[in-house]
């Protein structure tokens, strides 16, 4: 289950678009996932053949859970060894409730090929680190025998129904919660399952075998997720705030002239100019664009501009316009039209929700003058635009009425400062003075 935005912790597969035996290619859409925010089309970034769908439709699982096993294209002659599963054992049976649970652990990078999920689970039960096992199967695949050679039966544990050791309290918790201990990763000595492991799984377990959540439940859950992310941002990110009033008279009259010559369907809105100018300006002030992870800032070459879109029933979603700095105004407008429509109707793609490098929020349509936004971690800047409106404006000793907008910047002081932030806002203003150049 991919993380579709830093505020997502679980998702439900509502539809599989591939089946065992299907060939898949990089960029194919393989499933539709329902999150608290939206229905999202999940793309795949591997080539290969689908071996097994590990999570049935309708089951909610946490981020990081293996959804399917693939045989990668390069290993396709090795009789179906699952080459890409990255997380230790997940089992989620399609059976009616109580569904068995999934253990979820982020994966180490270089896991060896393993013959089957059963072997993987066996290794887990016996506390065997698969990375240390020499595989004797086809192409170096780790087999059941390899695992048993490293970790023979533990006395006292019976054969075919062998379970890993677990505390009596953990067993009782598991029974009460309808959790199958076999799928639980133990954190106790020798991989034994403790009460806290069961609670961890219970918290993310497929508690709802069917997507029975009501819109109201989803809304509340989304609000909680956004709240948690914003709390983290306010806790960790030292924000600084700047604002500047931008004269849009040139942009407004250019827009009016341009739209007068166009049929409705091809017209532009001011928001598309604001987004274009922001994307171009970001490309010139790289400290605003990228991700801050583990104490280090990685600037991004491409500008993937997250656009905050209201979902009306409450909540925001901020899918990305990829490579936004390269879009012409017309391209920006049509991408924006498409994005807004899909955000409101449910189908966004997974890549659009995971790779924004900076976010823009435009609350002007709601009538507010300016917005002081909270940065979406791991991003390092957020640009806000308020209401576009006419106001008195002094220029060259004369007072006139100009169309204006207040642009704000919330910046991350670990990466940039007010000087660079000011430079960035000035650049946006400059670009908007020459709309025909956008």
């Amino acid at each position: 289950m991919p993380s579709l935005g830093a505020d997502m912790d679980a998702g439900t597969i509502t539809k599989w678009l591939v089946h065992p035996g299907d060939r898949v290619h990089r960029g194919d859409i393989v499933a539709v996932v329902q999150t608290d925010k939206s229905d999202i089309e999940v793309e795949i970034f591997e080539e290969g053949t689908v071996d097994e769908l590990a999570v049935p439709e309708g089951v909610r699982v946490s981020v990081g859970t293996v959804l399917a096993h693939l045989t990668s294209a390069s290993a396709s002659n090795t009789s179906g060894s699952p080459a890409t599963p990255v997380t230790p054992a997940t089992s989620a049976s399609p059976a009616p409730p109580p569904a068995s649970s999934s253990a979820v652990r982020p994966a180490p990078a270089n896991l060896p090929l393993v013959e089957s999920p059963l072997v993987r689970r066996l290794a887990q039960r016996r506390g065997v680190d698969l990375a240390t096992v020499t595989g004797t199967g086809v192409g170096g695949t780790v087999t059941r025998g390899d695992v048993e050679a490293v970790a023979p039966f533990t006395p006292g544990v019976t054969g075919s129904t062998a379970r890993q050791s677990s505390s009596p309290y953990a067993r009782r918790l598991a029974r009460d919660a309808g959790i199958d201990l076999e799928g639980v990763v133990g954190s106790g000595p020798g991989g034994s399952v403790l009460a806290r492991d069961v609670r961890g799984v219970a918290a993310v377990a497929p508690e709802k075998p069917a997507p029975a959540s009501t819109p109201e439940e989803r809304r509340r859950s989304m609000q909680r997720a956004i709240g948690a992310l914003m709390a983290r941002s306010k806790r960790e990110v030292p924000h600084y705030y700047l604002d500047t009033t931008i004269d849009l008279s040139a942009a407004a009259s250019w827009l009016e002239r341009t739209n007068a010559e166009r049929p409705v369907a091809d017209r532009l809105v001011m928001a598309s100019l604001l987004l274009c100018a922001t994307a171009r300006a970001v490309a010139r002030v790289p400290e605003m664009n990228g991700h801050y992870v583990d104490g280090e800032f990685s600037p991004s070459a491409a500008v993937n501009l997250g656009v905050a879109i209201s979902q009306r029933r409450g909540g925001l979603i901020a899918p990305a316009l990829r490579d936004a700095e390269q879009l012409s105004l017309d391209e920006m407008m049509s991408r924006l039209n498409d994005l807004v429509r899909r955000a409101r109707n449910g189908l966004l793609r997974s890549s659009e929700l995971s790779d924004s490098t900076i976010t823009v929020t435009n609350l002007g349509d709601l009538g507010v003058d300016r917005v002081f936004g909270v940065i979406y971690p791991p991003q390092v800047a957020l640009v806000g635009f308020g209401r576009v409106h006419d106001r008195p404006w002094a220029t060259q000793g004369l007072l006139g009425v100009h169309t204006c907008v207040v642009a704000t910047l919330s910046g991350d002081h670990r990466v940039s400062d007010g000087m660079r932030g000011g430079r960035f806002l000035t650049e946006i203003a400059r670009l908007l003075r020459e709309p025909e150049e956008l």
Binding site: N259, V264, A265, V269, M270, A271, R312, V340, R344, D365
Partner: protein
């Protein structure tokens, strides 16, 4: 076009833009933008939809009239 047909056209055009919008909940005098939370892009899509259904161009100066239910109904019922 009758008033009821005009409302039906509006509903049809709004459906993909604001699936949860209920036209009957809009109070007289309230703008569609306020009542249904439409942003500038939604509103442009709404106007584009009306232009497509009625097969004519709608200039920007008519936008203001189209921003209330009554204005829209007038606009759609008087010109055909």
């Amino acid at each position: 076009m009758t008033e009821e047909q005009a409302r039906e056209v509006m509903r049809t055009v709004l459906r993909p833009i604001a699936p949860e919008a209920d036209l009957d909940s809009v109070v007289a005098g309230e703008t569609l933008q306020e009542a249904l939370d439409l942003d500038s892009i939604d509103f442009l899509q709404f106007v584009a939809g009306l232009a497509e259904v009625t097969r004519r161009d709608i200039p920007e100066r008519d936008y203001a009239q189209l921003s209330t239910v009554e204005g829209c109904v007038d606009y759609l019922t008087t010109s055909h």
